[in-house]
Amino acid sequence: MTESYVIIGDGIAGGSAAKTLREESPDADITVITDEGEPLYNRILIKEYAKGKIPMEDPLFLHDEEWYEERDIALELNTHVTHIDPDGHVVHTHEGDDYEYDALLVATGGTPRQLPVDNSDADGVHHFWTFQDARGIADHAEESEKGIVVGAGLLGIDFAAICGARGIEANYLMRGDCWWRYALSEDGAGIIHDALRELDVEPVFQSGVDHFVTDDDGQVTGAVDPNGEEFEGEFVGVSIGLDFNTEFLRGSGIETDDGIVVDEFMETNVEDIYAAGDITRFYDVILEEHAQNGSWDSAKKQGAVAAKNMTAADGEAEEFRHVSSYSISHFKDLPFVSFGHPTIGDDDRERKYSDTEWRRLTFKNGKLIGGVLIGDLKLQSVFKRIIREERDLEGQKDLLLEEDFEMEMLEAPAQEQ
């Protein structure tokens, strides 16, 4: 009997899973369902499109419709899944169509969260997730002069970069006293603040948004922060996080906890249902606890691992074992990467090497679990390898801050995996 696989979501996790499923199961029926109106595109690079640096769309598509046809994969665009029936192994859509599955992958990602303040849905207030969002942002940014950015994290800084690239003079409203305060100290964040100012984006600390101001046509004209200070701006970018798309799972019995809970094999608590990508709270075998990750490489690998396990015979499951990385490439000559888990852990070390070079590393139970490098990325792969090898670094953590650290300086052997 022919196996049937259904994938909900056509981001990089879903796309990677579709490719792997076809490789692992040449004769299976495979269906990809997405509520977007276009096939898989490069979600990392649409920020460059919004900045105006990549003016053409074609190179940003990773799969066209022919890609699916050539692999005999059914692609259902503009299709919303309303609910799933785990007992009957059926997916139901808004048009009344049913898709039966032997194994199902949920890779629906998230939707940008709105600020819970007045006028947060006004014209000119942008959220950034899809290619369609990027097109709207590009069009509006091109004609804007003053901007406001909200969300002091890895996604919010994309809006700051868009303002910088488009010549929009902007204020970047942050609730705390530095950018990405969960992973950076003031030393590290200070380097980013200087880089933002060079883009004509001014960080504003101990701020945020109390409400947005609009004109009579409903177009945003500014924001008032909790201190009562008003900032002008007809272009507003908000990135304060994602709400994961799990509404259609209500009643399915699938365990959720700010995302879908999966084990190291990407399987949920419900038989034959897997999840991959941003939406998962996965068991990290290196960290030895559940974790989340929004990086491209993590989603791509999770999709591939899930697909292999959807088709694997009993006892041949592959575990997800990966150290991710996420770069910010907006600042000329100032590379930035975070890797692993830089916002958690029980210990950390950091050092500033110059006005543009800084390093912070996080540890758990004596092992390296993550970090942030600013200015010099030469040790990125080395640190990721140390994490993968789970080296016991007790008594040697400071060695990792040596400017010219090399693996050979460590006494700790790699742990047997």
Partner: protein, 78 residues
């Protein structure tokens, strides 16, 4: 501006910074799409460091590919 090269038994890799993405670009990737080995090789090309030689078919880049990092770099494979 050429910023780095590496020569191999069958491949000669070079990367040069470009201001814009050429209209005829065949492949376009962000640096986060490179695996660790490719990233180290890319960083070497950009920095002008010595990069391990390799046969062309094993190069982790396509000829003409543009890699997006803190600048845009076009990789040439000869």
């Amino acid at each position: 501006m050429a910023v780095g090269t590496s020569s191999g038994r069958h491949a000669h890799l070079s990367a040069r910074e470009v201001e814009t993405v050429p209209a005829d670009v065949t492949a376009l990737r962000h640096v986060d799409q490179l695996d660790d080995e490719a990233f180290d090789q890319f960083r070497g090309l950009v920095d002008g460091d010595t990069v391990n030689v390799q046969p062309a078919e094993e190069a982790p880049f396509e000829d003409g590919e543009v890699i997006v990092h803190t600048a845009y770099y076009r990789v040439t494979l000869r």
